[in-house]
Amino acid sequence: MRVTNKSLTRNFLTNLNRNLQAMQKTQNHLSSFKEISRPSDDPFQVSRIMSLNSSISKNDKYLSNIKHSIGWLDATDDALQGVVGAVQRAQELTMKAANGTYSETELYSIREEIIQLTEEIAQFGNTSYEGRYLFAGYDTINAPFDVDGTNTLVYSSGSSDTGIIYTEISPGVTVGININSERFFNPSNSTVSISDTLHEIYNALGTPTPANLDTRIEELNQHLDGYLSLLSEVGAKVNRMEAAKEKNETDTLNLTELLSSIEDIDIAEKSIEYKSMTAVYEATLSAGAYILQPTLLDYL
């Protein structure tokens, strides 16, 4: 094969260009810190990167949902603890009154306290979190409970709201996080609500010899059980949320790690690669100086 000057230069330029192209690619990697910067770099991995990014973004949203729910549930828990306290106090008072050794004045003061407790329970029922009423069902912008002129706990809108607020904590998994006004009003789901019981006690204490207080105590016991089971339900949900939060954070970590292993460069490896490319490039250049110069003319 004849070798001409042009084929020498062309060969040299092709090789030089190839080196430069490889260098440019590595430079690109080094400056962007990304292994893949265009879909054509690796179409398959690009689609994985996209779904990983999407999963991470959704996971972040789930995490914020979970955190919000935990706050909501904690506030619910506090309110229910308060209600339990109030119901216990009502029970104590009713028991005292049932002993039958109290004067009318004393019974009157017990009756006053029952009114206070009724109002306290209404207040707990109107607890709000981030401007939303916890026990209002869907009607979160209106206080759900009120105490009417006869000192009875009532729905302020006149009826219960059975709405359940769901939140998504992981793909496809939704959890209802609220105790709606119906369940708050009648936690043991019996024929008499807390309002009925308290009202009956209030009425009975208005008479010199309060009647049927034993039945009321029994009812209060039922309501207490109801509130305690609501509390344990809320507690269980908090635990579930905490577990979901932990899983979510682990998932995000794993996903991020996986994403990084696909799209991020190994900086040490790339730097060394780049160094050796630079060396090769320089060697090519200086070799070019030897290859391209001589012709026969130099020796004539």
Binding site: M1, R2, V3, T4, N5, K6, S7, R10, N11, T14, R38, P39, S40, D41, D42, P43, F44, V46, S47, I49, M50, S51, N53, S54, S57, K58, K61, N65, H68, E130, G131, R132, Y133, A136, G137, Y138, D139, T140, I141, N142, D161, G163, I165, Y166, T167, E168, P171, G172, T174, T295, L296, L297, L300
Partner: protein, 483 residues
């Protein structure tokens, strides 16, 4: 018996041929780097001898021809590969631009879609008031704006590519005209029995250019005229006759993007497979497919979100509307102007009257995980049969794909289309480099070789001159004899 004068003549022929060879060598050196130049060589032969008594006497050297060293078989191989290279290179130029449109990082449509679903989830969390609704509106607007913009960019790319193809079609026709003109000159020269080396080189350069645009095969006749056939469809685009214009002229129908032949009265579309024009056309059809897929995505998102939002278009206000025309496409999708001016029209709950009910917003945010039929034309029918108005949920199609998948599919198709072209281009470049190296080894100028030749011819020239001076001495001797 040869006389001194006839020997003068022999020496003169030697001087002339060597000076011609020197001229040719210097022409080679001068054109060492000229595009398309083929090295030339002086072909010498012995002059016709004359008979004297019973032997023949040589009369020196004749210049037969100045030959252009060229391998025509290699030419046609190269033209074929130039066409293949052109296919990939032209496709690459277009697809690289489409790749930029379909971003996959946090500036891409995927991120906008994720943000949109998250906004619905935000609304589900705080469905009271306008705050959550404004977030949904903004995220949805970002999504539709991006859709519109992408559609716009693809349209621009489409139009630019068509213009590019049209200019290449013009280039083909003007190249054919130039080649015909050169062929005519070559024909006239060769009628005189002379090889038109430099004109053939020039024509070779034009043929190189033409072969990158369309796949050609070339035939030669005895007068070095050529017939060019476009190989993909076997159409003769230039005949041997250098006076009659070609019967078929390449042309393009801009409205349909079809390329074909015009025989003066009719246009017939053809399917070109190789060359830059074919590459551009192929890339164009791919880009149009991407746009179709993007339209499918716009249609799916709009249809499905509207469906859940309005319980199958029975009640409430849809969030997506069509800006013009009759169908949701990437170009026509927009946020309902009614909602834009009054965000409280966005229904977050089952009924839309209760403040704290975000169940519908939650159902919409969960649409991102719902698998839907791949064939979007069946989507509406599918929704009618699989939507539960009480739970606001759509029964997933287990064989289908999510909306995120649709975009991922588009991007990976864009990527792998370009990836394939890139790989093809690298292979072609290597192949062409090899063929060009072979061509160079045959037709290229070697300075060393020419230098050696120069020295050789200079020596020979000196030797012939020496013959003349010897003859002069002989002449002197003869003349002195007379004195």
């Amino acid at each position: 018996m040869p006389g001194i004068f006839s020997t003068y003549n022999t020496a003169l022929k030697g001087l002339r041929s060597n000076s011609l060879a020197t001229q040719t060598a210097s022409n080679n050196i001068a054109n060492a780097d000229t595009k398309g130049y083929s090295r030339q060589r002086v072909i010498l032969s012995e002059s016709a001898p004359y008979n004297f008594a019973n032997f023949q006497i040589g009369t020196g050297v004749d210049v037969n021809n100045i030959e252009r060293i060229r391998d025509k078989y290699l030419d046609s191989q190269l033209w074929h590969e130039y066409a293949n290279h052109g296919t990939y290179a032209a496709a690459q130029a277009v697809l690289e631009q489409s790749e930029i449109i379909f971003a996959f990082d946090d500036t891409g449509l995927n991120a906008a879609m994720d943000a949109m679903w998250n906004a619905w989830s935000d609304l589900a969390e705080s469905p009271e008031g306008t705050n959550g609704r404004t977030i949904v509106l903004q995220a949805t607007k970002t999504f539709t704006d991006m859709m519109n913009q992408m559609s716009n960019q693809i349209d621009t790319l489409d139009a630019d590519t068509l213009n590019l193809i049209a200019s290449k079609v013009d280039k083909v026709n003007s190249l054919i005209g130039d080649i015909q003109l050169l062929s005519d000159q070559i024909y006239k020269t060769s009628l005189k029995g002379v090889d038109a080396n430099d004109l053939e080189d020039q024509r070779g350069v034009l043929l190189d250019e033409l072969s990158a645009l369309v796949n050609i095969s070339v035939e030669y006749d005895e007068f070095s005229r050529i017939k060019i056939t476009e190989s993909d469809t076997g159409t003769e685009i230039l005949g041997f006759n250098t006076k009659t214009p070609p019967a078929y002229k390449l042309s393009i129908d801009i409205s349909t993007g079809e390329v074909g032949y015009d025989d003066g009265t009719d246009f017939t579309a053809v399917d070109l497979k190789n060359g830059e024009i074919a590459g551009n056309l192929k890339a164009l059809s791919q880009v149009r497919k991407y746009k179709d897929s993007l339209d499918d995505l716009a249609f799916t998102v709009a249809t499905i979100v509207n469906y859940v939002l309005t319980d199958g278009n029975t009640t409430g206000t849809p969030i997506f509307t069509i800006s013009s025309g009759s169908e949701f496409t990437a170009e026509t999708i927009q946020v309902n102007p009614l909602i834009e001016s009054n965000v409280s029209l966005i229904r977050a709950g089952l009924t839309g009257t209760v403040a704290g009910d975000g169940s519908r917003a939650l159902a919409i945010s969960q649409l991102s995980e719902t698998r839907l039929p791949i064939d979007v034309s069946t989507l509406e029918l599918y929704l009618a049969g699989n939507y539960n108005a009480a739970t606001m949920k759509i029964e997933p199609d287990q064989t289908g794909r999510t909306m995120g998948d649709i975009y991922e599919d588009i991007v990976s198709i864009v990527g792998s289309d370009l990836n394939r072209v890139n790989t093809g281009l690298i292979t072609e470049e290597a192949l062409i480099a090899k063929l060009e190296a072979r061509e160079e080894s045959i037709s290229g100028v070697s300075i060393d070789e020419e230098t050696v030749n120069l020295i050789k011819f200079a020596d020979l020239y000196a030797a012939n001159a020496k013959v003349i001076s010897t003859l002069t001495e002989m002449m002197d001797t003869v003349l002195n004899m007379v004195r």
